[in-house]
Structures are given as structure tokens and as C-alpha cells.
Amino acid sequence: MIYIIISALLFVLLVIQNILADVLFLGRSPLEISLIVVIYMAFRLSFIKGALLSAWVGFVMDCITGTVAGAYVFIYYAVFSGSYFISRHLYGEKDGFIVTLVLLWGIVEGIILFGLKSLQTGEFAFFSFLPFLILKIVPLGVLGPFLFHIFDKLGFSYGFNERATKRP
């Protein structure tokens, strides 16, 4: 039941992030809080639940942004799996580590989206894409640690932090 509520809350979050982007950046840059949520889930949830929720977030993103069906599902699945893999081998939750991880996945996501766009248009204009990428990942890097702390507080309060408590 709690995961159905989380899915609904994630849906609301995606709509709100779209509005926030318009208010804060005057519609010139996306504010993809959902990417931070997916990375966070990789550190806190079990694989199956986290992967399913990531796929759900990706699916909603596909619908809201009008991207090719499955694009964000794939990206968020890749981000989740990668972060999950990292979280199993590295124990680091300092702000710098989170910023690095968010920036890294932001760049990976940007490159995948750019690749898909290039595939559709048949053109490879990476330098015109670069400002879009920077505008997209810098706010995420700044927000990453802050949101991790907020999610932690919310998560522990409602008891769906499945993995953090098992850490050494």
C-alpha cells in the first residue's frame, strides 16, 4: 500500500518539478528532481522495489515531456542500476560524493537523450546541446545533498528506508 502512495506522490512531484522549472528558470531549463529521487532510491530501497519505482518515474516523465516512449524508463533504470551497483561497493554519503554522483548521472542522462535526439534528427550538434546540459545539471548538483537530507528525514519518519539501517 505504501508503495502505491509513493507512486502517486512521485507523480505529483513530477508535475510540481515541471511547474517549479517554469517559475524558477522561466521555462528555459528543466529542474529534474526526479533524477535525484532515482539515485536516492538506489541507496535506500531494495533492487526490485527501487527498479519498479524508477521505471514508473521514467514512464511518467516520458508522458509529461513527450519523449520517445521508453526513453526515460531506460535512462532511469540505467541510473538506478548504476547507483545501486555503486552503493553496494562504495560507502559514501558525504555531500561531495552525492554532488559528484548527481553530476555524473546528469551527464550520462544528457548524453543518452542527446544520442536519441541525434538518432531521430540524423544530426550531431553536440556544442549547441552543451549549454542545455550545463543548465540542467548544475542546479541538480547544488540541490542533490539538500534533497538527500530531506528525503532521509521523510523516509525514516515513514519507515521505508530499507537499506540505510543495514549499513555498517
Binding site: 507523480f11 522549472a21 509529461i64 513527450g66 520517445v68 549547441s128
Partner: protein
């Protein structure tokens, strides 16, 4: 040994499967699925509800910010002024809407296609797909790939439809391609979005194009009817040794100010 790599292999297999699905979908855009329609409709409705308080706060701020701090004895006069300003804004809004609708009606007389009037209820120029949402969907007769225009010119085409709303791909999106003609010289080319404007591809170095020339749809691909205004040439560049000229277009439509549009029903779908 095999057990150790079972999980990574499993993850990679799922990832590759998803990637293949995405690549397939990008080459074979099918009709919008039911689940996607439900999410689209739900998100649009929720966004509309959430945006209303913001809009109200902004309007209130804009109307009253300059009146804060006025002395007590002017309060009554201020009330009257506010009431009159409110009325004036309403009248002005009605007048502006009337003007826009008149222009659309004039356009209606000129159109030879069946068409549907629609309101713009969302604009998204920050994502990878530059699009807008209109308040007409498949139940109103909107079809995928239908051209969308205003009295000023071409806006784009319908990318996907839900029951009550549709997503329109803007001309400026990089995946948007339109066959065009430069009106004065009849030079043909392929117009493609650049993200913030448009440019024409495949204009030969000998072709005559100059700044300010109007660019209209060629009507070759059967998606867009012939003769719709797209914009005006804003820049022409040719590098020594190049086969083609670089021609940039300033769209006739201001995509940030769209409120009402007309969706044309493609000739094959007319009753």
C-alpha cells in the same frame, strides 16, 4: 564464478532490452497508448490545478504591488480605482480575445480544410521535445500529424493525441521537418528546427535567397497544405567551397505568446 556475475548480467540484459525498445519506438512512433493517455490527461489536469494559485498570486502581486503604502484618506479612492482597473483589465482581456478570435475567423474563411479551434493549455520549451498542449483531443477529431496554425502562420504538427488533449510538436524542435519554398525565388528546401529557431537545409550555393524573403510550406509531403507562412529569412551564410547555404529563419509565430490555435484535418481524413 557464474553466480558472482548473475546480477550484473541480468541488469545489463534488461537494460539492453529497454534500449532496443526505445530505438524501435523512435523509428516506429505508433498511436499513443491508453496508459500514456491517462498519465498525459492526469498530469495536465493536475498541473492546471496547481498553476492556478500561482497565477492568482502573480496577478494579485502585479495589480497591487504599486498601491501598497498609500495613505489612509485615499483608501476609498483606491478601492474605486482597483475596481475600475479590474473592470478595465477584464474589458481589455475580452477585447484582445475578441481581436484574436476575429483574426482566427478571417483565417477560417480562407481555409479549405476542415479545422478545429483549440486553446493552448501548456507550453514546454525546456524539455528535449519542444511542444505545447492544446485542449482538443481524439474525441474532438484531432489526428496525429495534423498541421496546427494561427492567423500568423504555421505552429507545428500534432505529435500525439489523448482523448481530450493533444501534444503539438513546435516548428523549432530539432525533430521537426517541413518541406518549404522561398516565396520570391521558389527555391525549395527542408526546414528543420534548431531548438530556438529554424533553418533550411539543402539550399544550393547557386540558389537565390536573401534576408527578409518569406518562407512558405511546399505541400509536397502531404502533411502540411501548400502556402502556409512559416517565417522570414533572417540570415544567409555560405562558406567558400561548401555545397549548400546556411539559411536561418525567423518564425512568423511567437511561440511564447500562443493562446489559441487552429488544427487542420489532413485531406485524407475529411468527411
Amino acid at each position: 564464478m557464474l553466480n558472482r556475475f548473475r546480477l550484473p548480467l541480468f541488469l545489463i540484459l534488461i537494460g539492453v532490452g529497454l534500449l532496443l525498445l526505445v530505438v524501435y519506438n523512435s523509428y516506429h512512433p505508433e498511436q499513443t497508448g491508453v496508459a500514456r493517455k491517462i498519465i498525459m490527461e492526469g498530469a495536465t489536469a493536475l498541473e492546471y490545478v496547481l498553476r492556478e494559485p500561482l497565477k492568482l498570486a502573480r496577478d494579485t502581486w502585479q495589480k497591487y504591488v504599486f498601491l501598497v503604502g498609500v495613505v489612509e484618506e485615499n483608501r476609498k479612492l483606491k478601492k474605486d480605482v482597483n475596481r475600475l482597473i479590474g473592470q478595465l483589465v477584464q474589458y481589455q482581456e475580452a477585447y484582445e480575445e475578441n481581436k484574436r478570435l476575429r483574426n482566427l475567423l478571417k483565417l477560417e474563411e480562407k481555409l479549405q480544410f476542415r479545422h478545429i479551434f483549440a486553446r493552448v493549455i501548456g507550453v514546454d520549451r525546456k524539455s528535449m521535445v519542444k511542444s505545447l498542449i492544446i485542449n482538443r483531443g481524439s474525441l474532438d477529431g484531432v489526428k496525429r500529424n495534423a498541421p496546427v496554425i494561427t492567423d500568423r502562420g504555421l505552429v507545428g504538427r500534432v505529435l500525439e493525441t489523448s482523448w481530450h488533449i493533444s501534444r503539438v510538436l513546435l516548428l523549432i524542435d530539432e525533430t521537426s521537418n517541413v518541406d518549404v519554398i522561398v516565396q520570391s525565388s521558389r527555391v525549395q528546401g527542408m526546414l528543420q528546427g534548431t531548438g530556438h529557431g529554424c533553418s533550411i537545409k539543402y539550399v544550393g550555393k547557386m540558389d537565390e535567397v536573401k534576408m527578409g524573403d518569406a518562407v512558405i510550406t511546399a505541400g509536397i509531403s502531404r502533411v502540411f497544405p501548400k502556402g502556409l507562412l512559416i517565417g522570414y529569412i533572417s540570415h544567409v551564410d555560405w562558406r567558400e567551397g561548401g555545397m549548400f547555404k546556411k539559411v536561418e529563419i525567423n518564425p512568423a509565430v511567437d511561440f511564447s505568446r500562443l493562446e489559441e490555435v487552429v488544427v487542420l484535418i489532413p485531406p485524407g481524413d475529411q468527411e
